[in-house]
Each structure stands twice: as structure tokens, then as C-alpha cells.
């Protein structure tokens, strides 16, 4: 089972479903699901086999190389699983909308492009798949018209800047080493001067930084995520921005290699510490902004930017524990963020609104979605029995033991910020009082519940037995040249502090049973309706008694002076100054021919004068 | 100070009687239709605080007497000490059957709750009042309670004594 068949299925399947869509909905849905499931199956059975195959397609003599190793396998399996679940979710989410065939075409194309990126062995094919991914994402973001178009425009402008930087870096590599095969570049880059390596790092760093929403380049993400349709924003924040992570991994560990990367620059100004600092800042500031959002998807978008900061911090820090923590957090984030976006999508599908101030009390109406969100936010926070905890524990342990407590402080403070905004999400949507107008909404359809159940189970299983994914991540670490960690099925044993999730799990289980018995000890409790709550003796009115509005108002009042969005303002300032500059240039082309003739004559006279005076030629 | 005010009042308005029991109190009684003009005049003269609006039920002469007590918030010119701060009580009489009166919220906005109370307890309708809804009482009364012909003992007899004690026979 070789790679090119995999890509042919992925890329061939998209137009096929589009054509079948013309004839009948049923076949198209069935075909889309079957194709993505087959992709998952093919990638799964490729486990362990690492292969490299080159195809000379006569493209300026550059070989199109497809290769598979542990790192790309790990990313490929995550991409295909999240892609399949989002397609299953969108079966009933997109049913009523127009242009559904186009939607499925684009969804399959995005997943295929991401698989392509991960399997690409040389920079040219990497770049081609990168462009396909960016453009199909742009078309999907601006799927529902209106503000989505502006969000899509913002996304595509920043992606193009990233791609241009990527192109520049790629060309300079080709000029200096006249090969674009990643493994060959890795072997030969050692000879380049450190200045040149710094240039390569910044060029590719900008490209991957924009896609991974590192702090200065993050402004496109909140708009893109909140305007895109829910299943796609799950893929967008679950796996698409993780292509930036894959890029960073490729750049820092495969192409440049760790020793060179750590050696660049001195002390605080080295590329390594700048990237760590960027990662740490990316954790803290978006988390605080996420607390004050009132739109559920925008809140999750800002939280994605924050969690991406953890991954960057993990990868940039450089020890094998940090790398394991970073990659494991990528895997967890893909799972729980997709779960949360599916939950918000299911709520939006039923109540047609995402505004946190007008929702409430849906726990009884949509229990499966509620439990999914609960598991999702526990993983987001890092509560001990979920996989989120293990990856954060790895990152914190190495940050503290390697002696950089301030980065650890940023990361740990981010956790409490995560608690605040994730509790706001679950409280304003599921707990509290059910407003009058949502009294009779039904459950969400099964095709929406299935992805949530699968993801919740995955989070809990990997939380209790983190050994399974950690074994693969350890293999990635060893492939990068680190010495391997001794991974047990339920954690890591090392002399400076072992993690033992089985102990934690059994302790929590016993404690829960104990407190449940204590709870049963008391007299039986009467269940009561939501109107019967204490309100100083008055009767609680049912319609306008909503109090989840402005949930963290004291915090907002305290931080209001610092809340001006500086970075976004800076970009808009650049855009407006360019537009005014262009305006002044347009005055020259006034449109009648007389002016043009005059310009030519003027220019000729200047040329003659220069030639007479200095005789350049 | 109040000497000149009394002359000014009597000169501008006809059939008005002013009497001042002590030096800082003036009682003004006037016809019901030029009460609003007097109130506006007094407000311009510096009496910008309507302290109280209440009614008295003269059941023998079959009439309600509305009393407006006016004073000034910050009469801070130095010679008026607190003892001499001037109070004006403006009285007017309206018939007892179907009592109605024009609202003064136009001149004194803070009269709004007073007028609602008058309506609820005396049954005086104030035309033009923004919301003439009950203010204090919980139940409806056919004769408003503050009227002299309202027999409170009889009302208590009907309303509360009729409610039986709870005893164990009707489980």
C-alpha cells in the first residue's frame, strides 16, 4: 500500500463526490464518509513502515518526493480522524443550506491537502499542497456570506504573506544547495553560515507562525473561526493551524537540527529564547481576551490561539520532555477543540444563536452535547483524568526543572485563565435557567452526537492510559536524536518525578465512590423545577430572569483600559496607509493619452541628459 | 421677605387668600383651576421643592382639600437661616363625587408617586399622569381606605374573619 495511491484516493475522491452530488444527496453523503473512512484505514495500516519514493515529473528536474516516517504518520492519523468526524458531523449540519456539494468538495480537498503536506518529502510538493490547503480553507471560511467574506479576505491576505515568505526561503535554499529534498538539505545545511540559517529560520518561521497563529500573526484566527461553518472551524482549529506546528517541527528538528537551532545567537536574543517567549506570551494574552468574549465560537477561537502557545512553547524549548509535551498537546488540542466546536455547532444548529448572553439551561435538553462539552473543557483545563493534563504536566515539569520559572509561570497562569473562560462557556450555554423560547428544542441528531461520543471516549482513554500515544511520541523523539524516555502504560517514570495516572485515577475513583456514599447517607432530596429557587421570597419570573449576561464584569471593569486591540489596529493602519498611497499614485493615470505622451517625452529628455552628463554606458 | 411675596401673590392672582401664622409659614388657598399657574409662579420664585402632596377628606362639606407644601432646596443667600426657611402650603378644594384633578408632574416631576398614592387611597383621578397604577396596597377596595366613609372594622369583618381557621377535620 504505497503513498501515491493514498493521495490519489484523497484527491480523486473530492471531485467524485461533487459529481455524485449533482445526481443525489444520499450517494454523495455516503461516498464522502466512505472515502474519509478509507483514508483513516489506509493511514492506520501504514503504522511503523517508513518509506520514501521519488517521482521525476520533469518539473525543472526537481523530484516530487513522498515519504512517511513516525512524525508524519502521527500527524496524518490525527488529520484523517478529525477530518472524518467533521464530515460525519456536517452531514446533518449542512443539510438545509445551499451549495452543499461545493461544501463537501472543499472539505475533502482540505483534508487531502493536509495529508499531502504531511507526506511531502520535498519543499516543492510541500508548497503546492500548502497552497491548495490555504485556498480551499479560504473558500470554506467565506462559505456563509456576509461578515464571513471579510474574515476570509483577512485570512487569505495573511496566508499569502506566509506563502511568499515560504517561497523566498525555498528559492534561496534551491540557489545555495540546488536540491529541495528535505533529507538532503538537512545533511548539507550544517555548512551554511549561521547568518544564513537565521535568515532561513525567520523566513520559514513567519510562514509557519502565521498559520500557527503565534502572537503577532494571530489576528486572522478569531474572525476566521467564528465565521466559518462549525464542522470546518473544528477542522480549522483542530488540524489546519497545526500544519504550522508540523512546519516548525520539520524546520527546527529535521532541517536545521537541534544543536544548530540552540546555538544561534547569544543569551536572551537567541532565536530559541525569542520563540519560547513568543509561545509564552501567546498563552497569556489571548486567554485573558477569551474570558471577555460573548460569542461562543469567538471564545473558542481565542482559546485556540492560547493553546497553540503551549504547543509552540513545548516545541521551542528543546528538551525531549518539552517536545513530547508539545506534540502530545497538539494531539489533545486537535481532539478536545474539535469536540468543543462540534458542541457549539450542535447548539447553534438547534437554537440558531451563539450569543452566550441569551442561551442557558440546555443541559437537560441536550444531555449528550452537555457531557461532551464537560469532557472537552476538562481536557482544555487539564483536569487530571483527561489527556490534556498529561501533556501540560510534561511541559510544566521540564520548564521548572530546566530552570526557567518565568515561562512556567506564564503557562501555569494560563491554566486559571482557561478555567475562567471554559466555565463561562459551559455555564452560559448549558447551566443556569432555560429561557422561555428554548423550552421545546429537541435533542441533536445522531450524526452530530457520534463524533462527540468518539472524541470524549478518546480523551478519557488517553487521559487514563497516556502510554499509548506517548509510545508513538517517544519514537518521534528518538527519530530526532533525543534519548528515549521510559514510558509506562500510565505515565513516565523518572528520578526527578514520576507521573502515575493509574494512582490518580484509582484515588479519584475511590474518593468519588466514598463521597457518593456520604451523599446517599443523607435524607432523600426532592427534585424541583428551575422556577423554585430562592429569590428573597419573591417569585422568580421565568421570561426575563437571565443573569448570565456580562459574566466576568468586575474583571472587565478592571482591565478595560488595557483592552485596545493593538496588533489588529497596527495591521489596519498599514492597510489604510497603503490604500491612501495607492490613491495618490492613481492620480497620475488620469486616462487621456496626452498625459502619457508627455510622460514619455519627459523621461527621454532625462535619459539623454544623464547620458550627456555622466556617460554611464 | 415673605411680606413682599404675599403682596406679589395677591396682586397677580385674583380671589386668593394668604395667611401667615408664623414668620416662616404662608398658607395660600386658591381656586382649583389656577393652582397650576400658582405652582409655576412659585417655582420661578425659587420654591423648587414640592415637599408633600396630600389630601384631606372634608366629608361634611362633601369636598376633598388638596394640599401642596413647597419649600426651596438651596436657598443659600446668607440672610435666610434655617429657622426662617420659608414653607408655603397651597390648598385647593375639589368636589368629592368623581374627584379628578390635573397632574402636576409637568411642573414637579417628583409628584408622580404622591399622585399614585392619592389615587389609590382617596380615589382622586389625576388626568395626564404617566402610570396611575396601585403603589402600596395589595388588594382592591371599592371605597378607597383613606376616605372617611370607609368602615375599616366592617372591612376586616368581611375580608379576614370569614377565612376559617385550619383544623384537622377537612384533611
Amino acid at each position: 500500500m504505497s503513498l501515491e495511491i493514498l493521495l490519489i484516493i484523497a484527491f480523486g475522491g473530492a471531485p467524485l463526490t461533487y459529481l455524485f452530488g449533482k445526481t443525489s444527496e444520499k450517494i454523495r453523503d455516503f461516498l464522502a464518509v466512505v472515502i474519509s473512512l478509507s483514508l483513516v484505514a489506509f493511514v492506520a495500516c501504514l503504522y511503523g513502515k517508513s518509506m520514501e519514493k521519488t517521482f521525476y515529473l520533469g518539473f525543472f528536474g526537481l523530484g516530487l518526493v513522498l515519504r512517511l516516517n513516525v512524525l508524519s504518520w502521527f500527524f496524518a492519523i490525527t488529520i484523517s480522524v478529525v477530518g472524518t468526524l467533521s464530515i460525519i458531523f456536517s452531514l446533518s449540519y449542512i443539510k438545509g443550506r445551499e451549495k452543499t456539494d461545493f461544501y463537501f468538495l472543499m472539505m475533502l480537498l482540505v483534508n487531502a491537502a493536509m495529508l499531502g503536506i504531511v507526506l511531502a518529502g520535498d519543499l516543492v510538493s510541500f508548497y503546492i499542497f500548502w497552497e491548495i490547503m490555504s485556498w480551499s480553507a479560504f473558500l470554506l471560511i467565506s462559505y456563509n456570506k456576509g461578515p464571513a467574506l471579510a474574515a476570509g479576505m483577512k485570512y487569505i491576505v495573511m496566508s499569502i504573506i506566509g506563502s511568499v515568505c515560504f517561497l523566498v526561503g525555498m528559492l534561496s535554499l534551491y540557489v545555495s544547495f540546488d536540491t529541495l529534498n528535505i533529507s538532503q538539505i538537512a545533511s548539507v545545511i550544517g555548512s551554511a553560515s549561521s547568518g544564513y540559517i537565521l535568515f532561513i529560520l525567520t523566513a520559514f518561521g513567519i510562514a509557519f507562525g502565521i498559520k500557527n497563529a503565534v502572537l503577532p500573526f494571530h489576528t486572522w484566527l478569531p474572525d476566521a473561526h467564528s465565521e466559518a461553518p462549525a464542522p470546518f472551524s473544528a477542522v480549522l482549529s483542530g488540524t489546519l493551524i497545526k500544519m504550522g506546528t508540523y512546519g516548525f517541527l520539520l524546520l527546527l528538528y529535521v532541517i536545521v537540527g537541534l544543536k544548530l537551532f540552540l546555538g544561534l545567537g547569544r543569551g536572551l536574543l537567541s532565536f530559541h529564547s525569542i520563540l519560547c517567549f513568543l509561545g509564552a506570551v501567546t498563552i497569556l494574552i489571548p486567554t485573558f481576551i477569551a474570558m471577555l468574549q460573548t460569542d461562543a465560537k469567538r471564545l473558542l477561537a481565542w482559546s485556540t490561539v492560547g493553546q497553540a502557545g503551549y504547543i509552540i512553547l513545548g516545541i521551542a524549548f528543546g528538551t525531549n520532555l518539552a517536545l513530547a509535551g508539545g506534540i502530545f498537546h497538539f494531539f489533545n488540542h486537535a481532539m478536545f477543540k474539535a469536540l468543543l466546536f462540534f458542541a457549539v455547532g450542535a447548539v447553534e444548529f438547534r437554537t440558531q444563536t451563539r450569543d452566550l448572553d441569551s442561551l442557558g439551561g440546555l443541559a437537560k435538553k441536550m444531555p449528550v452535547v452537555f457531557i461532551g462539552t464537560l469532557v472537552g473543557i476538562c481536557a482544555l483545563i487539564g483536569v487530571p483524568l483527561t489527556s490534556g493534563f498529561v501533556s501540560k504536566w510534561l511541559i510544566y515539569k521540564t520548564l521548572i526543572l530546566e530552570g526557567s520559572p518565568f515561562l512556567a509561570f506564564f503557562a501555569l497562569a494560563g491554566t486559571w485563565g482557561t478555567i475562567l473562560y471554559s466555565y463561562k462557556l459551559i455555564h452560559n450555554v448549558f447551566l443556569g435557567q432555560l429561557p422561555e423560547k428554548y423550552k421545546d428544542i429537541q435533542k441533536s441528531p445522531f450524526t452530530m452526537q457520534l463524533p462527540m461520543i468518539v472524541l470524549s471516549l478518546a480523551i478519557l482513554v488517553f487521559g487514563i492510559l497516556p502510554g499509548i500515544p506517548l509510545k508513538v511520541i517517544n519514537a518521534i523523539g528518538t527519530s530526532f536524536g533525543f534519548e528515549s524516555l521510559n514510558i509506562t502504560l500510565w505515565g513516565i517514570t523518572s528520578e526527578t518525578g514520576t507521573l502515575n495516572t493509574i494512582n490518580i485515577f484509582s484515588a479519584v475513583l475511590v474518593a468519588a465512590v466514598l463521597s457518593w456514599l456520604l451523599f446517599r447517607l443523607g435524607a432523600k432530596s426532592v427534585s424541583v423545577s428551575q422556577e423554585d429557587s430562592y429569590a428573597a421570597g419573591a417569585y422568580t419570573p421565568t421570561d426575563k430572569y437571565h443573569y448570565t449576561a456580562e459574566f466576568y464584569n468586575p474583571l472587565y471593569r478592571m482591565t478595560k483600559p488595557f483592552l485596545r486591540d493593538v496588533i489588529d489596529g497596527f495591521y489596519y493602519w498599514i492597510a489604510s496607509s497603503v490604500r491612501s498611497l495607492a490613491g495618490s499614485v492613481r492620480r497620475i493615470y488620469s486616462g487621456d493619452v496626452g498625459y502619457y505622451v508627455m510622460y514619455i517625452i519627459l523621461f527621454l529628455t532625462v535619459l539623454i541628459f544623464v547620458q550627456m552628463r555622466w556617460k554611464i554606458w | 421677605m415673605n411680606k413682599s411675596l404675599k403682596e406679589k401673590l395677591e396682586s397677580t392672582f385674583k380671589d386668593i387668600r394668604t395667611a401667615s401664622s408664623e414668620d416662616s409659614r404662608i398658607a395660600v388657598s386658591a381656586e382649583s383651576d389656577n393652582v397650576l399657574a400658582i405652582l409655576r409662579f412659585l417655582k420661578d420664585a425659587g420654591f423648587d421643592h414640592l415637599a408633600l402632596l396630600s389630601a384631606v377628606d372634608w366629608i361634611e362639606d362633601n369636598v376633598f382639600e388638596l394640599c401642596f407644601i413647597l419649600t426651596s432646596y438651596m436657598q443659600n443667600d446668607d440672610e435666610v437661616t434655617s429657622r426662617q426657611r420659608l414653607h408655603i402650603i397651597l390648598k385647593t378644594r375639589i368636589p368629592r363625587e368623581k374627584p379628578h384633578f390635573k397632574t402636576v408632574t409637568g411642573i414637579f416631576p417628583n409628584a408622580e408617586p404622591y399622585e399614585r398614592e392619592m389615587h389609590e387611597l382617596f380615589g382622586i383621578k389625576f388626568e395626564g399622569h404617566p402610570r396611575l397604577t396601585p403603589l402600596l396596597l395589595e388588594r382592591e377596595y371599592e371605597i378607597p381606605p383613606f376616605r372617611k366613609d370607609f368602615d375599616t372594622r366592617k372591612y376586616v369583618q368581611e375580608a379576614f374573619e370569614k377565612i376559617p381557621f385550619v383544623d384537622d377535620k377537612d384533611k
Binding site: 443541559a363 501555569l412 479519584v508 429557587s533 478592571m558 | -
Partner: protein, 298 residues
Amino acid sequence: MVVKITQIILSPILALVVGVFFLGLARKIMARIHWRYGPPLIQPVIDMIRLFYQKSVSHGSMFDLGLILSLAGSIVVVLFLPFGGIAPLSGSGGLLVILYIMLLAPLGMALSGGQGANPNISIGISRKLILGLGYEVPLLLVLLAVMTRYKTISIMEVVIAQQSTGWSFISFPLFLSGLSYFLILPAILGLRPFDVSSAPQEISSGPMAEYGGKYLALATIEHAFVLFISIALFVNLFLGGAANPAIFFVKMLVVFVLGLCINAVFPRFRIEQAVKYLWKWPTLLAFLGLIITLAVRS
């Protein structure tokens, strides 16, 4: 193995006894400060017996499970925390696991309170979380200072290190961190100046507004555990954590009584004042402590 089993069973019971004793002591000392006799020391036990016999009202399954989750979280933290000689599970995760499981208690209480559809509860929970954000900043700086000072993340090693090098509360750089931890102790416990999240007068006891009989009993038990945990953490990290439980209990008693006497005389902060205070003085002390430990270490 048998010793470990007995320790696992013994430490939550011991923690509960000490916590409930501290609750009774707090009410007695508070009464004495107000010139009153105050209730007997076992008044919390009497209250709990009464509450267990009283019927109560529930607002749905999350209302019950959230409270059970929060109590379970507190019990588990006690297992990870060495109490004198007894340290059942402190080997499998260290301070980071404790820090994370301490999140379970407020999260569980918030989830269960959220289901009880009452505006007082929501305001109480939002204040409790903001206050948590407030005291978390200095707490993290303090814990990081201790961890970098002893270059380990497990509490047992910190306690053993203190046997040899003397109490870290005395050694210079960590004195500032210890002081900062002592200043934020009332915020963690929700004692007098920082009980803005469960203020009985303003928001009718915040998250506990809808807690009836057994729910209130479980909430007080969980509060007793939190009381035990935060003081035991202080004693372990800064006062050298004793070899046998008796000395450990005496140290906890001193810390608790000192803290209570200082805080009983303060009026209640507004939530902004509380967070501003927490981010000003304790954070400054903790930050200085961390900087100096880093300077001393390198």
C-alpha cells in the same frame, strides 16, 4: 504494602477530623473576638448531623455530581499531601498534580452551583473564579520559587531537604515567598476579608444559596478539607513538615490561629479591591522571592 493501605485510609479521616476541629475553633475564636461565649467546639459536628437528617432540594443530576466531584477532588489532594509521617501517594506526581487536583474542588462546586438556576449562585461563582485568578498569580510564583530553590517537583523531597537545611521560612529568599503565601492564605480559604464570593448578606451565601440538608453538609466537609490542604501545604513547604503527625498538627494550629486572628478584624473587600490587593503586595513579595532564588541558584 499494608502500611500504605492503612495510610491511604487513615489520612482522609485524619484530615477530616483536623479540618472540622479547625472549623469549630474558627467559630469559637471569632466569637471570643466579638466578646461572646461562642458555640461549643463540636458545633460543626452537630450542624452536620442535623443537616444529614434534614430533607433537601436538588436541581438535577449535575447539581449532585458536581458537589460529589468537588469533594472527591479534595479527598484526593489529601492523599497526595504528606501529613507528618503519613504520605500515601505523594510519590506519583508531586506538586504539579496537587496544583491541578486543587482545581477540581472549585470547578466541581461551580458546575453544581450552575445547575441550581439562581442569580445569586452565578454571581457568587463568577466572583469565586475571579478571586481564584487573583490569588493564583502569587501562589504560582511562590510554588515556583520553592521548586526552583530545591530543584524538585515532589513535596517529599522538599520536606527532606528542609530537615537538613533548616526551615525554608527562615532561609532568606524563601522568607518573602512564605510571607506572600501567608498573605494569600485567607483568599484561598475564603476567610473574612476575601469571603466576597460567599457573602451571606449580599448574595445570600453565593454558590451555596441552593444547598439544603446533605448538600450543605458535603459543602462544609469540602470546606474543612480545603482548610486542611492549604495550611498543610504551607507547613510542608515552609515550616519543614514534621516527622510525626502531632508536631505537624501543632504547627498547623499556630499558622491557623495566627491567620484567623489577623483576618477576623477586616471588613469584606469588594471583588475589584480584593484582586487589586492580591496582585499588588503578595505578588510583589513572591516575585522578589523568585528573582532572588534564581540569582542565588545560578
